[in-house]
């Protein structure tokens, strides 16, 4: 078991770090203050292939492994949580399901432009009445001749309105299973601009404020029959498997936020002087940093292990759940401690740590709350 990265991965990390420092970091504060979607940065990343890192070259991607993709989200998130999630949601939730479940035609039509950077992707599962209880879906899709007709709404959708291609989960019927009536759920590919598909509220959020979080509204929205993704009735499984991959991306985002906060804090405590010496010389500071660094290191290993599992295993739900659960909680803890160690300045928006703390909170919630992750992990233990 080798814990060192090879030269290729080192170079990839250098690439992501340079890009993050030069292109992303200078805009992070402004993106947060003005709640603006970082379109220029996204355009640059699209040109460099960052939006299709783990998609094979034959479908317009860069042909790298999940680990390389994970490092990209990590490095971006170190300087800007918003930019990290744009890439993560697009890649894991928008593009990956088409790669895993799409027909050859669907891959050519939708996956290629997503992977090569022409188009942005998103994923719509959550509804006002269906968060953790995803089965509480109410959005319906009814087959009418050669078209599916969608009615309903989705909320809290990342990359909403900015994205061109959406993976939408909807109820396609009621079926009987072991004497009980349950919903038949399917997955669809819906393009922005389709008549009947509109956008509602843009959410005002605590953190990742530059991320476009929108309500999606479907009113007799008609899409071609061929836009069914995967088999009819398999939509829930597709959504869950997609989320497994997404959780690795979010775990990377959380890891990045924690690392960014830790680095900023180490710099700060060396500079800040009180009582005639730098606060880095006080044992409390030192011990806090030691705890933070150790937790970040542990989170790192879980995240990279989950990325490796995605590369080598068919099923990686538990690895993904553990990584996301731990990294998110570490991110929240480390960013909060970072603010504390900055003292008064930690509360001031000119310093990055307060933004990192606000950004970190959502990692414990979206793409499966920490409670859901615990359900997944314990479920596998008690099979």
């Amino acid at each position: 078991m080798d814990f060192k990265f090879d030269k290729q991965h080192e170079m990839a990390r250098q690439l992501f770090q340079d890009f993050a420092q030069n292109e992303v970091k200078p805009l992070a504060q402004e993106v947060d203050e003005t709640e603006s979607f970082p379109s220029e940065t996204v355009a640059k990343m699209q040109k460099l292939g960052f939006m299709g890192i783990a998609i094979p070259k034959e479908y317009g991607g860069q042909g790298c492994d999940p680990l390389t993709y994970t490092m990209c989200v990590e490095e971006l998130s170190k300087v800007c949580g918003t930019t990290g999630v744009v890439v993560s949601a697009h890649s894991s939730l928008g593009a990956d399901p088409i790669y895993m479940y799409g027909t050859e035609e669907q891959k050519q039509k939708y996956l290629v432009p997503l992977a090569n950077g022409e188009k942005l992707g998103a994923f719509g599962l959550t509804e006002p009445g269906a968060g953790t209880d995803a089965q509480g879906q109410q959005t319906k899709a009814v087959l009418d001749g050669d078209e599916w007709v969608l009615n309903g709404s989705k909320c809290f959708i990342t990359n909403g309105k900015e994205a061109d291609i959406y993976i939408i989960i909807a109820v396609t019927g009621i079926i009987e299973k072991r004497g009980r009536k349950i919903k038949e759920i399917s997955a669809f590919i819906v393009e922005k601009g389709t008549p009947g598909f509109s956008f509602g509220t843009k959410e005002k959020k605590m953190g990742i404020r530059g991320s476009a979080t929108y309500e999606l509204i479907f009113e007799d929205c008609r899409i071609p029959k061929d836009n069914l993704l995967g088999q009819q009735g398999k939509g829930f499984g597709i959504a869950m498997h997609t989320l497994d991959g997404g959780r690795i991306g979010i775990a990377a985002q959380a890891l990045g936020l924690a690392e960014g906060a830790l680095e900023a804090t180490i710099e700060y405590v060396k500079e800040r002087k009180q009582f005639g010496r730098s606060i880095a010389q006080f044992q409390n500071t030192q011990f806090q940093l030691a705890n933070m660094a150790t937790k970040v290191e542990a989170a790192k290993l879980l995240v990279y292990k989950a990325a490796k599992a995605k590369e080598t295993q068919k099923v990686y739900s538990v690895e993904a759940a553990m990584a996301k659960l731990f990294a998110a909680e570490v991110a929240m803890e480390v960013t909060t401690k970072a603010v504390q160690l900055h003292g008064g300045y930690g509360y001031i928006r000119e310093y990055d740590v307060e933004r990192m703390m606000r950004d970190a909170k959502i990692t414990e919630i979206y793409e499966g709350t920490s409670e859901v992750q615990r359900m997944v992990i314990s479920g596998s233990l008690l099979k």
């Binding site: 290729q8 690439l15 890192i53 860069q62």
Partner: protein, 260 residues
């Protein structure tokens, strides 16, 4: 069209210098980068490749570790990488270095050779023009813009207070300024491709038409008599005062030193 770009791996002096406890430079501890002027030259070559489909080869002379800059160049889009490395080539001044690189270039088919104007460690700006001399090629230094027109290059050649627009027939050599352009990033896929390719490694034996008397430390006409760490002007007084006090402090010092 075939372009060869000569690049150098250099310690990153911009990030700050690392010293050993005895005051000497700790090169091993410093990050290495592709020399900025060279990177701009590479970017210029890649832009020509984008427009005309030219083939871009990168060449470097250095320690085995220098292969890293070749990989970086290939990850940016260069087609081939050549590493010239050999114990006997070490310790070379610009004469011996240019002789070595010219010896390597004689094995290659090229229309245009691009080098950086100067490296941030040596800062001599000599190797480019000297390579041109050894190969009997026209040289245009200090390029702030490069265009291809048929069989010629059109270059904006920078001087202190003006620039010349120069036309030269290929084959020729151009030295690039880092102001020439904004070099592109590597791509994640490009990195993988770079490592899938073979880097050609050449030693002394592969150099064409060169004399051992002109290589390495022994073959360098300039010799180091002595080297020491710069005794820098030391730090003076540093104060943190409010603006009015700070201004008054300076005014007093100026009066003291008869500046005013």
């Amino acid at each position: 069209m075939k372009i060869v770009v000569c690049i150098k791996q250099v310690p990153d002096t911009k990030g700050g210098v690392v010293f050993n406890p005895d005051g000497t430079l700790n090169r091993g501890a410093m990050l290495t980068i592709m020399n900025p002027d060279d990177k701009a030259g590479l970017e210029a070559a890649l832009r020509i490749k984008d427009e005309t489909g030219a083939e871009v080869t990168v060449l470097t002379m250095g320690l085995p570790k220098a292969e890293e800059v070749l990989r970086e160049a290939m990850a940016m889009g260069a087609d081939n990488g050549i590493l010239v490395t050999d114990r006997v080539l070490g310790g070379a001044d610009t004469w011996a270095t240019s002789t070595t690189i010219a010896g390597a270039l004689r094995n290659i088919d090229y229309d245009l050779i691009i080098t950086g104007r100067q490296a941030i460690d040596g800062d001599t700006a000599q190797v480019g023009p000297q390579i041109a001399e050894h190969l009997d090629l026209p040289v245009i230094s200090y390029a702030q813009n490069i265009k291809i027109e048929g069989n010629s290059v059109i270059v904006e050649r920078q001087y202190e207070d003006r620039y010349h627009v120069i036309k030269a027939q290929m084959p020729c050599l151009v030295t690039a300024l880092s102001e020439l352009n904004e070099p592109r990033y590597m791509t994640p896929g490009g990195i993988n491709e770079a490592f899938e390719k073979e880097v050609t490694v050449w030693g002394r034996a592969d150099l064409k038409d060169v004399d051992d008397a002109n290589l390495g430390l022994k073959g360098s006409p300039t010799k180091i008599a002595k080297a020491s760490d710069k005794v820098r002007k030391g730090a003076g007084e540093v104060v943190t005062l409010d603006p009015a006090e700070a201004a008054a402090y300076i005014v007093d010092k100026f009066k003291e030193k008869h500046v005013i």
